[in-house]
């Protein structure tokens, strides 16, 4: 699973990104975007701008209507069971977590290990317990998602996405609904994960985040892009974002932090 990372992790060329809810509807047109290994990208955009759909294309959950989308060199239009190894190198954290409500937090996190590596629950327990401990989720291991606050559900979803130690982590609006403490924790943890965390073998990872508030992701080494009116535009580094005159970028920067609860 942790094979050598190819130079480009995500490559989109002339891709028309379709909406998940209606695959006949094009959400973003003509996306040309390359994410190199070890990069940290932040994609800004207002609600319904196609951020989630763009990430789902990168994860191989939807194929573009036109153009190509490659993840780890594999065209995602053909991203099925035969490319399972590549798919498992991608971790995806959905908005709100999308945990399986019938399972406990421990079972949610263990599921990918059990399904793909044939681990029994007892065998997976050690690895799961370590990760839950790392993410401070141990007290909630036996709880079902509906009994947890949004802060912890989001963290559990992160644990589930990380259990297979992915090379690429995609996060869809991960700060939504988090308290200030949890937001700060997540930003710090993602930074560590991106630089190379010991639990993940110390190797740097590639991270792509979709957000409707760029300010929280301010960092000199991160790259920024924006979605607006069905158009994808790479903005560059944080300095370029701050100096951008486009009204859509200003809107994303003007969003006061206090409104994110």
């Amino acid at each position: 699973m942790n094979a050598n990372i190819s130079a480009n992790v995500i490559e989109m060329a002339g891709a028309d990104v379709v909406a998940l809810r209606d695959t006949l509807l094009v959400a973003v047109e003509d996306v040309n975007w390359t994410v190199a290994s070890g990069e940290f990208w932040v994609i800004g955009g207002q609600q319904h701008s196609g951020k989630s759909d763009l990430l789902m294309h990168a994860a191989g959950l939807i194929a573009p209507a036109r153009g190509t989308c490659r993840t780890f060199g594999v065209e995602t239009a053909r991203f099925d069971e035969t490319q399972l190894d590549e798919r498992l190198r991608v971790g995806f954290v959905f908005t709100g977590g999308r945990l399986f409500n019938q399972l406990t937090i421990e079972e949610n996190v263990a599921l990918p290990l059990q399904y793909h590596q044939g681990f029994a629950m007892a065998a997976a327990a050690k690895e799961v317990a370590e990760l839950l401990d790392l993410l401070e989720l141990t007290p909630f291991a036996g709880a079902t998602p509906s009994t947890l606050a949004a802060n912890w559900r989001q963290r559990a979803a992160l644990a589930r996405a990380l259990i297979l130690k992915p090379d690429l982590l995609l996060l869809d609006n991960p700060l939504v609904g988090l308290s200030a403490r949890h937001r700060q924790w997540l930003l710090c943890f993602l930074d560590q994960f991106w630089r190379g965390h010991d639990w993940f073998g110390g190797r740097p990872a590639t991270v792509v985040v979709a957000t409707d508030d760029l300010r929280a992701w301010q960092h000199p080494r991160r790259k920024f892009a924006m979605l607006d009116k069905k158009t994808f535009a790479a903005l560059g580094a944080w300095g370029d974002v701050e100096s951008a005159t486009h009204h859509a970028v200003k809107d994303l920067l003007a969003e006061p932090m206090a409104t994110i609860t």
Binding site: L20, R21, D22, T23, L24, M56, A59, L61, I62, A63, A77, D80, E81, L84, R87, L88, V90, F92, F94, G96, R98, L99, F100, N101, Q102, L111, P112, Q114, Y115, H116, G118, F119, A120, M121, R160, A161
Partner: protein, 286 residues
């Protein structure tokens, strides 16, 4: 898997229908209904084929996850319903078998007892009643669970983890329902026959248990056992397909779930009747 689901169901059932609707005049009412029924039939047929293909292709895959889920579903569609089926078997015995035995004894026609019992209980009422009860108890829960999971995006979450939703969510339910309905039907038939005789016995019908059982045994042949197994497994398979199709294979919002559950139960009953009719033809031919 997502691609397969999208192509086979969503496109057929929602997008084509939404984008190319028939005119909404009253004259087109029947044509709209027929068009929609054909789309549903096409979608359910494709869903059944995909489920069978996944069952064959992934036989033995992720056994540690799928097998416990199958056992859980067998428990839910079979073992957990035993108390309710005991009550239904007693009721069926008292209401149908006992009265039939008494009536036949009064007119001195106990010679027809065996064939009457086999036709009414073994071939028809037992399997159909078991299937209908499982449909209402477990089939409805299937639609609600899967529909809620679909509406909350859990299916996409499974796909993002590289887990085939049909393998993880549908296959255990199909196996559970098929085996559950088979087991419950046998239980229901035995319970109804025994309680029916007890009812007749209490009415002082001149029929010994030995004669009663002998007549039933003579009226049964090997084909009854084979077709009973095939019929109940078919009921389980089709009920699971119809209910899971409505829960999983179409994009849903939370507010759609209850409406879809009602539709799934209605279609489930229709499917049971159609399968039953098919087996009547088989009985007549053989």
């Amino acid at each position: 898997m997502r691609g397969k689901l999208a192509k086979a169901f969503e496109l057929a059932n929602t997008q084509v229908y939404r984008h190319v609707p028939l005119p909404k005049s009253s004259a087109n009412f029947l044509r709209r209904k027929l068009f929609r029924a054909l789309l549903t039939l096409q979608g359910q047929g494709a869903f059944a084929l995909i489920t069978l293909a996944v069952a064959l292709k992934k036989f033995g895959t992720a056994r540690g996850v799928v097998r416990p889920r199958m056992l859980q579903e067998i428990f839910r569609s079979g073992v957990a319903l035993l108390p309710m089926f005991l009550f239904v078997a007693l009721a069926l015995g008292f209401l149908v078998v006992g009265q039939t035995v008494s009536a036949l004894a009064k007119v001195g026609a106990t010679g027809y007892l065996g064939s009457t019992m086999v036709i009414v209980i073994v071939r028809e009422l037992g399997p159909l009643l078991a299937a209908t009860l499982v449909l209402t108890r477990v089939g409805t829960a299937n639609v609600i669970e899967l529909g809620t999971a679909r509406a909350l995006g859990e299916v996409e979450a499974l796909e993002a983890l590289g887990i085939d939703p049909v393998h993880y969510l549908i296959l255990p339910r199909v196996v559970g329902m098929a085996l559950g309905i088979f087991g419950l039907t046998v239980y229901l038939i035995l319970g109804a026959l025994v309680s029916g005789y007890l009812f007749a016995f209490m009415q002082d019908v001149a029929l010994t248990p030995r004669d009663y059982l002998k007549q039933i045994a003579e009226a049964l042949d090997w084909l009854d056992f084979a077709l009973l197994a095939l019929k109940t497994v078919s009921f389980g398979f089709f009920i699971a397909i119809v209910t899971c199709y409505h829960g999983l294979a179409q994009p849903l919002r939370l507010e759609d779930v209850s409406r879809v559950a009602v539709r799934a139960v209605t279609q489930g009953i229709l499917v049971c009747v159609l399968v039953d009719a098919l087996f009547i033809v088989l009985y007549l031919v053989t």
